[in-house]
Symmetry: D2
Subunit: 338 residues, 4 copies
């Protein structure tokens, strides 16, 4: 940590800062400039614990040198995290493809789609049982009923299940049915929920908050990791920008940046990331080329009659199948397979 | 609702859209332009329920005409909502002033500050017992112990209590001690928590999500209102922008806009809205001039030794007292008192 | 400046960095942490000139300690800049009020409005002769004709003229008619234009770029100052945020922040800052309470027939007159007059 | 266009709106809802010209149905625009690769780099002669001298020249040397400059404004097109977001969206789009997979001694050569070649 003082900081204030640093066993290196003093803190910064140096009199700003997330950090683990689930691996050479409708609407619907996406090469069926909705009057999902429908689809196809959990109290229930928990963009800072899935044994897909920085996202992952669950999969799903033509702005920079900062796998959701069916294929190809470890894709055989507005971003099953074929040479070109 | 079709929409697609509208008893008014057809939906839009017109084939975009929040809407209630709590009123002529430290750190601390802010004219003591923190290793508040310290401060001073609740499971516990629930910016889309405080009988301060639009904010309020709790107080606390000099960008437009869109009271938190002690007084004056119904202010008698970094934005008690005096003529100038 | 090296920086790379610093006569103070080396640069940083340390091998990031704008900086001048123009002063105790239509549409229009705003207490008539428009097919202003209409309004009323200049080639022409140049939000980074008005003798209102940080804004001012023109007036006119209900988001934090960082006066434009007539009065009051040195307000006697969409944000003359009265006690409360 | 009235709009106001629409020969279709009236404008909207309906009394909002850019619009031209320049084509099957340093620093530097990038397969040498810089004290380029150095590099290698022009007055000078004009992100709304290059005969690369929407970008292109120059190449170079880890956020959604909205070619600049050398290769691959028509890449053989901070994002020549090889199978996979 580097501490920069105000131009008018008194020597008594600077002494108090140094005393606090040395008081916990750290070293303070002082550089006295013309206007300001810069104090470098040398040693294991965790010794400072929660002491908020930025609140002290005379401090103008503090600047972190090392990342505040430890377990999620690339330095903590040299090798990429590879997660084994339902007989497949996420984070390895083979891309993990998770596909299905926005919401689980009926057993027939979810089984039909599961069969179609399996045929095209997906390894996971995704579908919402509990749906976060901006307003209270929108369809909120069929809940436990929908979880059972997902299990029926799994029994029929062997695909692993990915579904969202929204509140700590339902982690146990959802965990009884799903293979992978999904945490949505609106829950990236639901810290109790992060801790609760951190205490479970199942992998967690952590979607990026829609205005979150990479650091905040990795700190959210750190909540899960710090409870003992090492199996976190980050998911880029588009950020909010000024653009209103697309639903969100898929930020593919996230893929190489996360690979640089962390050992955790990262998958991409081009369906939510664009919100427009006609853009999904191109952005999926770009995701694979950028180095994504997997894909979350919305597929629906009858979007005209879907129960959420997300039908507008769902691929038809034949589009999905075609896309899976087109991805193959790109995956190979970047040293992966699909 | 207005539905705009794609330039290449077929007449079969347009027929299907009209059929769906008429199928629920609404009227479809069709305007055929040169390139596109525009379909107006006339009647009580709630009859459309969850049917997502934007997913239908041939639809390019839909545009809402009426607000999706009903109970929070100005049209629902002509008069401003006035909330009676702990012998005072929020939303009336007199501004509600809520002041105190970021976190409750000890009985001595909170009682001392409560006495000081009461003397200066505040009617509520605020302080965090449960603290949402970006990372898992930061001080998360003293929890139930801190709730008891707040009660001690109330007993000593008579001030009402404002404190945050972070998860549905703790609504009962926090509700036993506090007068007003606070929901933080990171929980504006924690829909289970919104519903749970909606089922309580206590007023709720709902902070704006840090990248939320006004509509999303009012929809979050709608979650609380729709469960039967009419006592929602909105709180502008700064939004995230590109600016890094300040912690957040206090958005005072929110005050007249919310008064225009809704009957709910709105208070302003200039401490979080700026993050810098030296800016708080000016922005508090601006908040009152803009028409705010109340203020949330951080006050700490010893920020050098506070347990969170928010000390940097806390006023000293004497600054707070001076500010309260300076606010008086401004309040009067806009037809209020303090 | 503080330079932070990458964890894998070699000692040869660190030596090269130190050598470059010392090569221009500066001192390098090295703090060796566990993972990274932090190098403080002590001395007059301008000696480093354009040498971009952040490009050097082994550098992870650099952090500025002092502001990159020198002449605009509070440290450069202890007293606030006060600008004398057309018999009045901007930046002193009395607020400067500049009012008028978005565009100059006819002599009759601009003279009528000038008379009305003068009666209400304004000291400057504002109106666009050259209009920046997002698309090429919109009304772009009457140009030189409109400048003459402004002069007619000045002759009639004695009000000073504020009008926009858009390109270096027109600085001379506009300067022959106007008292104050206005540079619009889309031209904040038109560096040739900044330099050209910097070489003129007339005061310049520099509107904030719609997504500019405070530092970028002050650097734009520095372009003007560095050419020898000390009379720069900053103007907050709203920034772009995710909110679509308002045209822009008026950022009143700018007022105390700029007063803290710089000696230059800052005025506020609540008309563009909100885009909605019904919000202008409340936000103007808030601007004054926040400490603004002046106001830019759109006033139009016949917005139904205005030639730009900005009529929607124009006050009617009687609204403007009422507002001017209501501002008085607020101005007094913050130690100003109007 | 659809016009939505306020809930309290009077019938006189609605009549005035209809009268204005019909007055220019358009048809007004009125849908009367329970709270608001919706008025559809049928016919050639350009007949409305500059009449700003949104300024009229009683109007709450207006919504465009057709795009405000006409010449840039996909509907205007069914086939993609292909631009022939210096013996190559931009917008066709073969990707256009433009590479070189941020700034032209010497004849030796630019010739060396030109030879290297040509060997690797680039068809254009890029380099700044006139450099837009945030502050006045930074290196602003060698100007005309640098243009001559670029010509020397062209003579040596046959590569076409891409270089920036910053102000209308220099369009002629730059045009004498360059093959393609580049307009930078800070000049996307420099409307006089747009018009001036619109009157030239050379192709123009128009970089996206750093916070511009797609519509604003295409309207800027429309300025150029409307002056008679059909050869506009859009360039995505990253937008500003909250993320500070990267310099900008490369927005690859731009590629399929622009292909959907417009017939103009779009190239991508992953160097500015990320600002970090280690991210450039992955994001270049993603750009090609997304369907980009070309690439702008910074390449520098000695970034440690470059004269701008952009050295940190420059590829070394051998990295560039390797990347060009790796792009081949991806280009083929999406039906292109490189």
């Amino acid at each position: 940590m580097v501490i920069v003082t105000k131009p008018d900081a008194t020597s008594a204030q600077i002494d108090a800062i140094v005393k606090r640093i040395e008081g916990v066993g750290l070293e303070a290196q002082i550089s006295t400039g013309e206007q300001r003093t810069v104090i470098g803190v040398i040693g294991d910064k965790t010794l400072l614990g929660d002491i908020p140096m930025e609140s002290m009199s005379g401090v103008e700003k503090t600047m972190a040198i090392t990342a505040p997330y430890k377990l999620a950090c690339r330095q903590f683990r040299a090798d990429p995290t590879v997660i084994a689930v339902n007989g497949t691996k996420i984070g390895g050479r083979k891309l993990a493809v998770m596909a299905g409708p926005c919401a689980v609407e009926s057993t027939e619907q979810i089984v039909t789609i599961a069969q179609q996406v399996k045929k095209a090469g997906a390894e996971f069926i995704r579908g919402g049982a509990f749906k976060p909705r901006t307003g209270p009057y929108s369809f909120q999902g069929f809940g436990e009923e929908a979880l059972k429908m997902l299990v029926a689809a799994k029994q029929e196809t062997g695909l692993g299940i990915v579904t969202e959990v929204m509140t700590p109290n339902e982690v146990e229930l959802v965990g009884e049915h799903t293979d992978i928990f999904q945490l949505g963009t609106r829950n990236m800072t639901n810290f109790y929920l992060l801790r609760e899935v951190g205490r479970s044994k199942k992998p967690v897909i952590l979607k990026r908050g829609m205005s979150a920085t990479f650091e905040e996202w990795l700190l959210a992952a750190e909540y899960i990791l710090s409870e003992g669950n090492p199996d976190v999969i980050l998911c880029e799903r588009g950020i909010r920008t000024f653009e209103t033509h697309t639903r969100n702005t898929l930020d593919l920079n996230a893929v190489p940046v996360i690979h640089h900062l962390s050992h955790l796998p990262i998958v991409v959701d081009p369906s939510h990331g664009t919100g427009i069916r006609g853009l999904v294929s191109d952005m999926t190809k770009a995701s694979v080329a950028a180095g994504a470890d997997g894909l979350l894709l919305e597929v629906h055989h009858d979007p005209d009659n879907s129960m959420t507005g997300d039908g507008a971003q769902s691929l038809f099953p034949d589009q999905f199948q075609k896309l899976m074929q087109e991805l193959k040479p790109i995956a190979i070109a970047v040293g992966r397979e699909i």
